[in-house]
Amino acid sequence: MNGPQDVGGRAGFGPVAPERDEPLFHAEWERRALGITLCCGVLGHWNIDSSRHARESLPPAVYYGSTYYEIWIRALEALLRDAGELSYEELSSGQSLAPGKAATRCLKPDRVAAVLSAGSPVDRPASAPARFSPGDRVRTRNHQPLGHTRLPAYARQKTGVVEAIRGHHIYADAHAHGAGEAPEWLYTVRFDAGELYGEGADPTLSISIDAWEPYLDPA
């Protein structure tokens, strides 16, 4: 979606602000926000792609006006509401008014290490060979669905070179919207800066994205 998350190449955000000796968390609530969000992910109501979509679906003014973990919490509330696990009444009263639906899947502390170290690999068996090979020239499509996508706007309708086949991975565009895993071949595609940004671009610069096959046509 052409949402607030798609900031690559855009101007006006000011300088990068590295902090010296930066803390991992800037407030105690950020610690809880991280842990609560990861715990809720285990409940099975959503996946990483639908959770990203919840974050990018925040109104732009809210997204840009929020710190990172604020974005996480606002999106978590929306995901929990959509899952029927958290009502406005509960949030305003601070009280649980109904038992959790997915309580049997609650992550217990003794399983945390195993869940984190297992991760969630997204490579899946392929039924067809990859359409493109390293070295192939490809052009990204004018792919701008109203829903979730991982093709950034700056790399739309641009010609690049396939640098690597990364595997046959769950397709984020489908997976974010309840359409199953729908795996597709994933490629690293490299572009010259001049192709992306036109005249005056840094001639020493190239940029790559990881692009699923449905994003690409032969060039």
């Binding site: 900031v7 991992l24 609530w29 715990c39 950034p152 020493t204 610069l205």
Partner: protein, 188 residues
């Protein structure tokens, strides 16, 4: 936000959906156990063990797993090696994708729009804000982590590090150098 997050935790705990002790365990993991020292060990080994470096280049997920690191947000790792001619920089323009098992949780600036917007457009200016100035003819390659592949930059081994052991070398490897916003420290 303090009150809001506390309310969410209270409600979800009462519903049996989360266990605060599991929240504690997750926070403890990323605050005390998983962080950029992991990645620094990977880089130091790559500097000292050519066979390991070759495995890291071929299949980073497996090579990193040899050292005991892996899991969430590191399921599909790729290592990219800086050379005198090419400097690599990693970003996630769309959100905050970052290789947690080797670098821990991303710093705030990595997740903020300024870095995400500018890393793909004017990386030399971004690097300058980190105090890094590359020769003008050094190529820059920016890797936008738009899928579930996670990238680890292997910085160049600094001059003057000959004869150092792996642990000493790891101390030269900064977090930022493994994102590409820095270079390895020169030994004192």
């Amino acid at each position: 936000m303090t009150a809001r997050v506390r309310a969410i935790e209270t409600i979800l705990t009462a519903k049996g959906l989360i266990d605060p002790a599991a929240v504690d365990a997750i926070v403890d993991t990323y605050e005390h156990k998983v962080g950029p020292r992991n990645g620094a060990q990977v880089v130091a080994r790559a500097w000292t063990d050519p066979a390991f470096a070759a495995r890291l280049a071929e299949d980073a997920t497996s090579a990193i797993a040899e050292m005991g690191f892996g899991g969430r947000q590191g399921e599909h790792m790729v290592a990219i090696f800086n050379t005198p001619d090419l400097h690599n920089l990693v970003v996630c323009t769309l959100c905050s994708c970052y290789p947690w098992p080797v670098l821990g949780l991303p710093p705030a600036w990595y997740k903020a729009p300024a870095y995400r917007a500018r890393a793909v457009r004017e990386p030399r200016a971004v690097l300058a804000e980190f105090g890094v100035t590359l020769p003008p003819d050094t190529g820059i390659r920016v890797w936008d982590s738009t899928a579930e592949v996670r990238y680890l930059v292997v910085p160049m081994r600094p001059d003057g590090s000959e004869g150092l052991c792996e642990a000493e070398l790891a101390d030269l490897v900064t977090r930022d150098s493994m994102i590409g916003c820095g270079v390895a420290r020169v030994p004192a």
